[in-house]
Amino acid sequence: MVLELHVWGPGFSLPSIDPQCLATIAYFSLLVPRDSWTLVASSDPTISPTQELPALKNGSTWVSRFRNIVDYLRQYSNGAWDLDRDLSALEKADNVAFSSFVEARAQALIDLSLYVTSQNYYSATSPAYGAILQWPNQWILPTQLHSAAKSRTESLGLSSLDLEAVREQQKRDHSADVAAGRIPQNFIRRPRETVSSLLGKTSQQHQFRLEALAGELFEPLEDLLGDKTHMLSAKAPSSLDCLAIGYLSLALVPELPHTWLRDLMLRKAPRLSQYIERMRRELYGIVNVSDAFTNDGQSSLPWQAPERARLATIGSTLLNTLADSTPILKDIRVNNRLRETAESADSGLSETEGQALSAYTKLQGKDTLISIATVVGGFAALVGYMVHIGVFSAPEAEAEEEENEFAIPESVDAGDFLGSLRAQG
């Protein structure tokens, strides 16, 4: 049985645009013989029952996420395919701790560099997604990923990288100033900010903050690597090496308009940068987007062209997107999707996983019902109150009311004025 690894497609001359996928590809190419697996740039998370990539398909079994795939490979091969087999206890502990560290810290920096930094997103990341996605996903998925990255990095308080947010803030400030009469309308200037001018002048403290964030990530890794040939042991790479290569090559390799992350990495961790560069050339080669969609077997990775989307798939994607952007419908849909995953027997989840998942979806189902009930109840209360107070009166009273309205001037200020008119008329 050939294992199928489904990933986000290639970008920035790397075999995938997503760090977890890159790490998984690195793990496979270090460990699994080339004829035992194929790489499919499907770029569509809905193909996996858990809605995420990377996903490994073996017959009818699906496994997703780097960590789960690593575990699955070990079980599948009876312990033969396991990069972490020979680690000592202390190295194992380091492996777990540094992996969690890289996943958390590097993800934040990649989010900032590729998604939140507006210039990079619009001139590099978004076109890269455009090249690998099929219609209509190319209009839907990048926006979703963009906003997810923004919400993940919100707490870091580095919104100055995000020109949209900056511009909105400026607009708000301006309109507040105009409203307060401080700036005459004509004098409002619309400065065109760029990230460099923002970083250069107005937010030096943000630059310090970026430097500190990058330092916190790169310095421990540089120390750990030391003069060794690999991160943990000198003999062989471990799963930590794969994660580091996956995440850090996205920091190092992409050609972006604004290369602050690469500059910081080269400056703070020169040895680490060399190591990542060497390993990614060895494992990935230089990947063109077209490699992923042809089956000629020329490239260094076992690419297999993904199936073209059928009309039915496209239709359902469009419908789903529409439904997902409708408030209450969205909640119901998310739940249903999860419940399906949990209850279908061949979803690749173990029994306990399935139980936990269905418990969770039922919990969410209750919440959705509560929110529907709240809306309905609130509306009913409003209508009830309006009836009670006599806003809606019986039809015969209505004619009278209309007359009233024309005769108006009961207490409105302008009514006094009208009254004076009438006196004159």
């Binding site: 502990a93 701790a97 560290f101 998942l357 969770y360 409105v412 009514g415 009438r422």
Partner: protein, 299 residues
């Protein structure tokens, strides 16, 4: 007389100006039904509330505001919130005296507990948020900044801040039995007696936990969270080894406090857990359990 009559009659007798307010009135007047609703609204200005009666007489000490109950505050018992307990334990370990004040997120200037009102300089009212507590403590008692001493400090902290915290969030807020038995009792019920507000607060808490977990993955996989927590406990146990404190320091410090904050609450029988998979995972590592028992003597 109708409006149209007005329109026809007026121009002869009034200058053009006269029409404009009329039109404006039409645009800006409140529609009659809405106006009637508002006419019935009582417009009463109540006198402002009195300041809450201060049950903790002003003594001249540092006051740390944490999630706890009145009884726990008086005796200086550990807080039931890991973030609060971490700083409570740290200040205790480095030997700073403080009193506990029961509080909640709404009372905090930054929206997050804990925060500290320092005793000195006298008359200051600037609270210290949790992010600056360590710096303040270093200035007060000249303890070490432990992050500088070992590069693994930050790395292993990420286990606590991500893996164990995520498992904790699931465990406390999204596991229904635990939420009803523990979170509702500790966080929701003390806030108010109103059942409607309680329901809303409870669902807000759960939603917040869910949003936090969904930030890092498209769906919440309980068994993956538990497996990651198990790996994290194992790594921490290996890091501690046979030492008394983490990084083989003579006195407990910030890292010990961070670990203790979770291990104590997971192992504490007073929390009343209904489903405690984390305890089963943690109990496999005897040295972590002993570490918690040793540190509990500070309280």
């Amino acid at each position: 007389m109708t409006d149209d009559n007005h329109g026809r009659n007026i121009p002869d007798q009034l200058p053009d100006r006269g029409r404009e307010p009329h039109r404006i009135r039409d645009f800006f007047s409140v529609p009659a039904p809405v106006k009637r609703v508002f006419d019935r609204f009582p417009l009463v200005t109540y006198p402002s509330n009195e300041l809450p009666h201060c049950a903790w007489p002003k003594r001249h000490g540092n006051r740390l505001f944490v999630f706890t109950d009145a009884e726990g505050a008086r005796r200086g018992r550990p807080s039931f919130n890991p973030q609060c307990l971490k700083w409570q334990a740290y200040l205790r370990f480095v030997g700073i005296d403080f009193e506990l004040v029961p509080s909640n997120n709404h009372a905090s200037p930054s929206g997050v507990l804990p925060f500290l009102l320092p005793a000195l300089p006298v008359g200051t009212s600037a609270p210290i948020p949790s992010g600056k507590l360590q710096k303040w403590a270093i200035e007060e008692v000249h303890c070490e900044e432990e992050q500088q001493l070992n590069l693994r400090f930050e790395v292993y902290s990420s286990l606590l801040d991500n893996r164990i915290r995520n498992a904790w969030l699931y465990h406390l807020y999204l596991n229904r039995e635990n939420f009803e038995a523990v979170a509702r009792r500790l966080y929701v019920d003390p806030s108010t007696a109103d059942p409607i507000v309680r329901t809303v607060l409870a669902s807000q808490l759960q939603q917040a936990a869910r949003d936090e977990l969904l930030k890092s993955s498209p769906y919440i996989d309980a068994s993956a969270l538990e497996a990651e927590a198990a790996e994290a406990f194992e790594a921490l146990s290996t890091l501690l080894g046979e030492n008394i404190h983490f990084f083989n320091r003579p006195n407990p410090g910030l890292f010990d406090a961070s670990v203790f904050a979770f291990t104590h609450l997971i192992l504490d029988s007073k929390m009343g857990w209904k489903y405690n998979r984390l305890e089963q995972l943690l109990s496999q590592h005897g040295n972590l359990v002993q570490h918690r028992d040793r540190l509990l003597k500070f309280f």
